[in-house]
Structure formats: structure tokens, C-alpha cells
């Protein structure tokens, strides 16, 4: 019984140290994100100065009325189990816009090939409609910097690079947060177990 309590106490100590480390990492990560965002916002402001206030604003963002838009940066989540701790791990996935466009074209191509030879008229109509689709899909899978125009200032490109870096820090921060939450839950569970063992002993 005494050795049980000692084991639980030892594990609680380890968890507490890990918890403090994670809290420190969490704060450092957020401060790093703050620095990156601050410099990227400065680049956005410089781009706004060059292009005009209304040309770098939420007015350029897609709305509910605009065409379907695919995210070029997504996250994949996995459940990681290590040291008896189960928590979600996020990983950043980058999608190449050209890859999406070519994939969709291939899909359309295969669908077109399924039609019989005697359907020439329908095939012609299909070709016309698919060209329209290709056009719209190219827009959906395009680099977001093109929402702001074809010839954008260098500052806007720098801002984009900055926000790409910010996204990586965001993923890092999400992973720390996930581990922090899991560690907290485990700590609470063990703390209750320790209280139960101590009550049983007395």
C-alpha cells in the first residue's frame, strides 16, 4: 500500500514538472506568434499604404456569394500515445493549388471518357461546360495573394510568408495545448487516486 502511494506521488511529481514545462512552452509559443504577427501586420500596413486602404482589406476576402474556395493549408490530426498519455497531435498539410486543379481536371477527364461514342452532341456540350468548370475551379484553387491583384507589392508577399510561418507556430502551439490539457486531466485523475489511497491507509 505504502509503495503504491509512493509510486503515485512520484508520478504526480513528474507530471507537475512536465505541466510547468508545457506552460512555459505555451507562453513562449504565443509570444513568438505575437512577434511574427506583429511584423506581418506591419507588412500588411505597408502594402496598404502602397495599394490604398480599400485594396488590402476584408473587401478582398471571399464572401458567401463568391465561388467555392478550397483551403490550401489544412491540418491532419492523429492521436498520439506516449508515456501513458493520450493526446491529439496536429500536423500542417500544404496543398499545391496546381495539384488541386490538375486533380479536378483528371476527374473530369475520366468522367468524360465514360460516355459512349454515339453521344457526340452531348460530348460537345460536356466539353463546353467542363471548360467553364475548369475556369471556375482554377479560381478556387488559386494562390490567395491573387485576390489582391496581379501585381502586388513585395510587402504583401512578405506578409504572406510571415503568416505561413505564423501557421506553423499555431500548429506547434495547438500541440502544446493538447498535451497540456491531457497532462492536466491525468494529474487530476492521479490526485484523486492518491487521495483515495491515503484515505484507505488511514
Amino acid at each position: 500500500m505504502a509503495s503504491d502511494i509512493l509510486d503515485v506521488c512520484r508520478e504526480l511529481d513528474d507530471l507537475m514538472i512536465r505541466l510547468l514545462e508545457l506552460m512555459e512552452e505555451h507562453i513562449q509559443c504565443k509570444l513568438k506568434l505575437q512577434d511574427i504577427m506583429k511584423s506581418s501586420c506591419l507588412d500588411l500596413a505597408k502594402a496598404r499604404y502602397i495599394m490604398g486602404t480599400r485594396n488590402v482589406s476584408y473587401l478582398q476576402l471571399p464572401t458567401k456569394e463568391s465561388a467555392e474556395i478550397t483551403a490550401l493549408r489544412t491540418v491532419a490530426s492523429l492521436v498520439e500515445t506516449g508515456k501513458n498519455l493520450e493526446h491529439v497531435v496536429f500536423k500542417l498539410c500544404t496543398v499545391n493549388p496546381e495539384h488541386i486543379a490538375s486533380e479536378k481536371q483528371e476527374e473530369e477527364g475520366s468522367l468524360r471518357n465514360r460516355r459512349g461514342k454515339g453521344e457526340d452532341k452531348r460530348k460537345e456540350q460536356d466539353d463546353l461546360s467542363s471548360k467553364k468548370c475548369e475556369g471556375s475551379e482554377f479560381v478556387t484553387a488559386t494562390d490567395p495573394i491573387k485576390w489582391f491583384g496581379c501585381l502586388v507589392p513585395q510587402n504583401l508577399r512578405q506578409a504572406q510568408k510571415g503568416f505561413h510561418a505564423a501557421l506553423e507556430v499555431v500548429i506547434q502551439s495547438a500541440n502544446i495545448q493538447s498535451e497540456l490539457e491531457a497532462t492536466c486531466k491525468k494529474f487530476e485523475k492521479l490526485f484523486k487516486l492518491k487521495a483515495g489511497l491515503a484515505a484507505g491507509k488511514s
Binding site: R73, V79, A174
Partner: protein
């Protein structure tokens, strides 16, 4: 250390001021799905708390979103909603903004960890 239960790529959504939304969308996280539902919300001085709350709840309900980024000053407005969310996915990340630097004492995760 073992990795298992792989899930396909999901979205990062953003609730924040103009610069935060423009920046992260420029970074490529923006999406408008087939039902014309965006994964971002621009909060300005005219946006009401109920609108933010409704948008946040909608993002939490969506199963194609894994991470919700929210400016810390916006998160302060709907603190009760954020505190009541205890699930690991979607993960809610409070991020600093241009006008409001990061304050660790307000971060819901750190406050939960302290207790």
C-alpha cells in the same frame, strides 16, 4: 511513442479582427464550402457578442474544423462559451492581435492548468 488513428486533413478557422483574418486567409486557410459556409469571421466594432457566439458555436459543431483561432480580445467577449468547451477537437487557440498583446493571465488553458 506510437501514432495511430489517422484522420484526413481538416480546416483551421479564424475569428478575429480584419488584419488577423486577412493575414491568415492570405496564408491559405480560408475555405468556402459547397453550402457557402466560410470558415472565418471578421469582427469589427459593429459586430455584436451574440453574432460572435453564434459563429463560434457553428464552428465548434462543424466536423471539418480541427483548430479555431480566436483573437484574445474577442475570446474575452465569449469567455463563458470558451470555458465550457472541454473537448480536445476542435482545439481553441487564443491568439494575440495587432492592438491587443497576449496576456497569459486571460488564457483559458493556463487558467485551467493552474487550478
Amino acid at each position: 511513442m506510437a501514432l495511430h488513428s489517422a484522420i484526413k486533413g481538416k480546416l483551421v478557422s479564424v475569428i478575429g479582427d480584419e488584419d488577423t483574418c486577412v493575414g491568415f486567409l492570405l496564408g491559405g486557410v480560408g475555405e468556402i464550402n459547397k453550402n457557402r459556409h466560410p470558415n472565418f469571421m471578421v469582427v469589427d466594432k459593429n459586430t455584436s457578442v451574440s453574432e460572435i457566439e453564434e459563429c463560434f458555436k457553428r464552428f465548434v459543431r462543424r466536423d471539418d474544423i480541427d483548430i479555431i483561432l480566436i483573437n484574445q480580445n474577442v475570446a474575452e467577449m465569449i469567455r463563458h462559451c470558451i470555458d465550457s468547451h472541454l473537448q480536445p477537437v476542435p482545439s481553441i487557440l487564443e491568439i494575440p492581435s495587432k492592438d491587443h498583446p497576449y496576456d497569459p493571465t486571460k488564457d483559458s488553458i493556463l487558467r485551467r492548468a493552474k487550478v
